[in-house]
Symmetry: C2
């Protein structure tokens, strides 16, 4: 259906604050004869950063997530303001979040590899996350630079085998981290398969 | 922080319909001294089903997703009504969605393997998805049984190498599908790594 006809016929705002906006839209889709009414949550896009050390370890943070009332191990991430779509600006957000949340930064001659993006829950929200691999990373001289709002309890480097085990055992259980691990694995940048079957 | 103290001090509903509810809660977390105000979207939990044929292919559907105004290839999925947490009931939802969305069903002596769950975007929503592997599957005698509301344009079986390529090239780009592929790969149930590096 690429090139098909999508058209928003009407849009009524139901709620908005600085975190999200809820609208009910009437939308004509390419695949159906009649428009459909849909409740949509608009959210800022985000960056998700896999930070890899020189010896192939991945940096995870342990963060309190209020909507689920749990603290979970996950990749560094952060929101992009103003729906900025400029690739260089998005990369700079990724580098800033890397530093702020993990206290690591790209080493000299390190690279930030763009790994595309994903939709967190396209049945109800347009939220998307841009994936990046930063490698190699090294600790910043001055440690993490966490904003007041951050709820990061811990930060550690994990081997790929530890990451694999955490995914298998449901300890890694957020879309950002599972999603970037799938993308990395598919490109041969991280092994999450068991060594022996 | 397991065993820590989470407490919702107050909760104010901002919006609700049959699809989602928005609240602003004041929440005491284990890791911070003072309560925080947070905008939370409550959503029904979901099931996500990887359907594998006897020859190891995976069934994907191509579905119109109104919030992103795109049709994407993804795993079958569906919502669980009434926040049912009974494992048998959740499995039955998975089997029903498998049949309705793909037109496949478990073969005789097939198994439905529970693969844990994930959170789609725990920074703003409590939505979770339960992962299942159904194998082997076979076409139903009477084809898919799609509800009026479904927007499924196509359904096909893909080899694991095709799945790998689609993940690597951003063609697979939703959290459900990326997440379950990571979980499957970590348990040695699906290979998404390139054969040669």
């Amino acid at each position: 259906m690429n090139g098909g006809h999508w058209e928003t016929i009407s849009s009524e705002q139901q709620f908005a604050d600085r975190n999200l906006e809820v609208v009910i839209d009437r939308v004509q889709t390419p695949g159906r004869p009649d428009p459909r009414s849909w409740t949509i949550v608009h959210r800022k896009p985000a960056v998700v950063i896999a930070a890899m050390t020189r010896d192939g370890k991945i940096i995870l943070i342990r963060q309190e997530r209020i909507p689920i009332e749990q603290a979970i191990w996950e990749m560094a991430s952060g929101q992009i303001d103003n729906h900025d779509t400029d690739p260089e600006n998005i990369k700079n957000v990724a580098l800033r979040e890397l530093r702020e949340e993990t206290g690591y930064e790209l080493a000299a001659r390190g690279e930030l590899v763009s790994l595309g993006y994903f939709f967190s829950s396209p049945g109800f929200t347009d939220e998307r996350g841009y994936f990046f691999l930063a490698r190699p990373v090294q600790p910043c001289a001055d440690g993490p630079d966490r904003e007041e709002g951050e709820s990061i309890l811990d930060c550690r480097a994990f081997t790929s085998e530890e990451i694999r085990r955490m995914i298998a055992e449901n300890e890694i259980r957020d879309a950002n981290t599972l999603g970037i691990c799938a993308r990395l694995a598919s490109r041969g940048l991280l092994s999450i398969a068991p060594h022996h079957e």
